[in-house]
Symmetry: C2
Subunit: 118 residues, 2 copies
DNA sequence: ATTTAGTACTATGTATTGCATAGTACTGTT
DNA sequence: AACAGTACTATGCAATACATAGTACTAAAT
């Protein structure tokens, strides 16, 4: 169902930012590493989606980067999470956990044997 | 942190649609009931946000409604989930569960004692 | 009959991010 | 110099949550 896919894409809004931060947290990485870590977590992201997120997070002070030369192509940006980014990630995680909890309640409330209004 | 709040608001995109369907599923309701059920699940939603979601879901065939007179104000729209809506909800739930699983992996990968690149 | 308060719903525009696409630049190989 | 692979930048579109303003219905009060 096409509509389900587009709604799931909507669900990724906000979640990818948190996931990218989490994928880097404590373990500096460049774009290809990050894509691999996300893929390992079954979160498929392409470069055209990742780079704007990295740029935005860096501009907001949640990530910093250093350039490193490469022998197999252009130089690479190695990202790491700043202290502000770590704090931001903690807040996002807290909000995310609340949301997961809420959704869990909602997805189970009508599976009880309580009578309905039908 | 204002930015965390706006990102959490972004996370609600797509999730509220699923939550509204879940709140109605098997238990027809009008807007005020739905807001109460969402509130009970700690998912705070206001009318200006709920009505467009209901309208959109109805237009897409996932909800249907019947009017019922009220003695305390205008007539009310009682919504119920259609078969298509039930199928849609199942697909959303599946995608949501996958996403929750992915995020869970990402939020824990760097808490291990494995050496990092620092 | 008119006005008021409470209630239920509709209409509309803004902000934001994921996404797709096109482009530029670097490196080693041919 | 040209090419393939790699890394990154730039840009516009689509979709939904949100806030705000508005219309309409009902009972009660005047």
């Amino acid at each position: 169902m096409e509509k389900a896919e587009s709604t799931i894409a909507q669900m990724r809004k906000g979640v990818l930012e948190m996931s990218v931060l989490a994928a880097i947290n404590g373990n500096e990485a460049y774009a290809s590493d990050i894509l691999e870590r996300l893929k390992h977590a079954q979160l498929i992201v392409v470069e055209g989606t990742l780079y704007p997120i990295l740029t935005r997070l860096k501009n907001e002070g949640f990530l910093s980067y250093r350039w490193e030369e490469s022998t197999s192509g252009p130089p690479r940006k190695y990202y790491s999470v700043t202290q502000a980014g770590h704090d931001f990630l903690n807040e996002l995680q807290s909000g995310w956990n609340d949301m997961v909890s809420s959704v869990s309640m909602l997805l189970t409330i009508n599976h009880s044997t309580e009578p309905t209004n039908i």
